[in-house]
Symmetry: C3
Subunit: 185 residues, 3 copies
């Protein structure tokens, strides 16, 4: 009688153990952390040296580095140091800097390739988040990879959904970045 | 008697449970997904504007952006938007675009550093795959890292083995990319 | 009596099994592998072609590619092929090459963004390690992400702490890289 009740407990525990194990093997798609931030890019155009946060540093033959190239800017590489804010206001207090590069890489539409980092330094978040991915600008939302992080984001991985929140001529754009981390440590 | 047979079942289940747990801890080297694709790069050389899929956008002092630099192209950066095909035929229907950059980074042999993405858009695959790594071009095969993905390749990681499948002067090359994913979600 | 002792064994094993499972879910912060290496960068300045291991390949409008740009080199992109050594001596036998690029990305202090790989080829280590991250140069130590690896570093991930071990004018610098791998396969 006693042995039977132990056996029952055993099977219950075993089922819990196996099913939890299975859940891990499948890995779950619910983020373990989420964060939404905005960053603001003001590209140098020859007249805004004081305000500009990015600069064209490379261009294809025939193009210069003051004006974005023809053919959908194909071949332009820009380096940036953009303020990050909690909301969509350029003048909100920055919580960090978005730093790295983007390059325009299609001749017949706007697409970019991004390699950059968020360096966060606020009361809420300290550390860096590293991004790599393709950015087909004409899509409402684009997914890029969060390939690593440090500090509060130690070893994190995830997917960031990027949206163009504002676009003013070829001088200012604002990106909204919805980060979903699926590996949090 | 009954207790004994339950006990036997228990040990069998326990062994299965422990060994499967152990297999996970070791992590297995069998890919959870495999994919072979080709991409085709036609570099702009001053005469092929209509066909070119890539352009030299940066070069060291003394070199221009029409012709690849001397010293094994050291310091050249190229931006590309190359068609991806299922086989080695440039004229096969593309299943996506390989977009990003490569840079030549040795003075006494051909090596490159790659940062690019596959943007796949076919009936079989929707999504992006992000690559980073060193490419010692003179080796028959080179391994680079798959650092993330989106869509069908959500959160994937793996290793891609790159082979130069064709090389015609300094105008066209074709790369075969054998992707092996070891984290699939 | 016999059933009872089996039951006792069962609970002991179950506790071991559950606690080991829990340890995995939390993931541990102890590295599974550690490695310290140095690399040496000699930037081309117009007079040291034979020795230089890196070159400025991109610069903002108004700057050239022989001398690092003003404003904390904002917008300069350098491509490098630097020897890696086991100690801090430039003339020690190299165990591999650090290859890729760095770009300066702030106007009012020194910060860089790094995308590069270690290609190791020694008796102790064969394979590549891929790095991405922000490098705020004025900090004593900076953490960047190890986003993948091949060969002996197959699928590895981790964090690398970078320190400027020497800095001589704007011609030579030496970085110490303390790699801690937390996913080792």
């Amino acid at each position: 009688m006693k042995a039977r009740s132990y056996t029952a407990i055993f099977f219950i525990l075993l089922i819990i153990s196996i099913s939890s194990s299975y859940a891990k093997m499948r890995k779950e798609y619910k983020p373990c952390k989420e964060l939404v931030l905005f960053f603001h890019d003001i590209i140098y155009n020859g007249h805004n040296k004081a305000n500009a946060t990015s600069a064209i540093v490379a261009a294809p033959e025939g193009a210069n580095r003051t004006i974005l190239a023809g053919e959908f800017h194909f071949g332009n590489v820009a380096v940036f140091d953009d303020p990050i804010t909690l909301d969509n206001n350029l003048h909100s207090p920055p919580v960090g800097r978005a730093q790295g590069m983007y390059l325009y890489d299609t001749k017949n539409t706007y697409t970019a390739w991004l390699g950059f980092s968020f360096s966060l330094n606020s009361t809420d978040h300290q550390g860096s988040i590293n991004f790599v991915g393709a950015d087909p600008l004409m899509n409402k939302t684009r997914d890029i990879s969060i390939v690593g992080g440090t500090g509060d984001f130690f070893m994190h991985r995830g997917v960031a959904t990027v949206m163009t929140d504002a676009y003013e001529g070829e001088v200012y754009f604002r990106l909204r970045v919805d980060m979903k981390f699926y590996e949090c440590w």
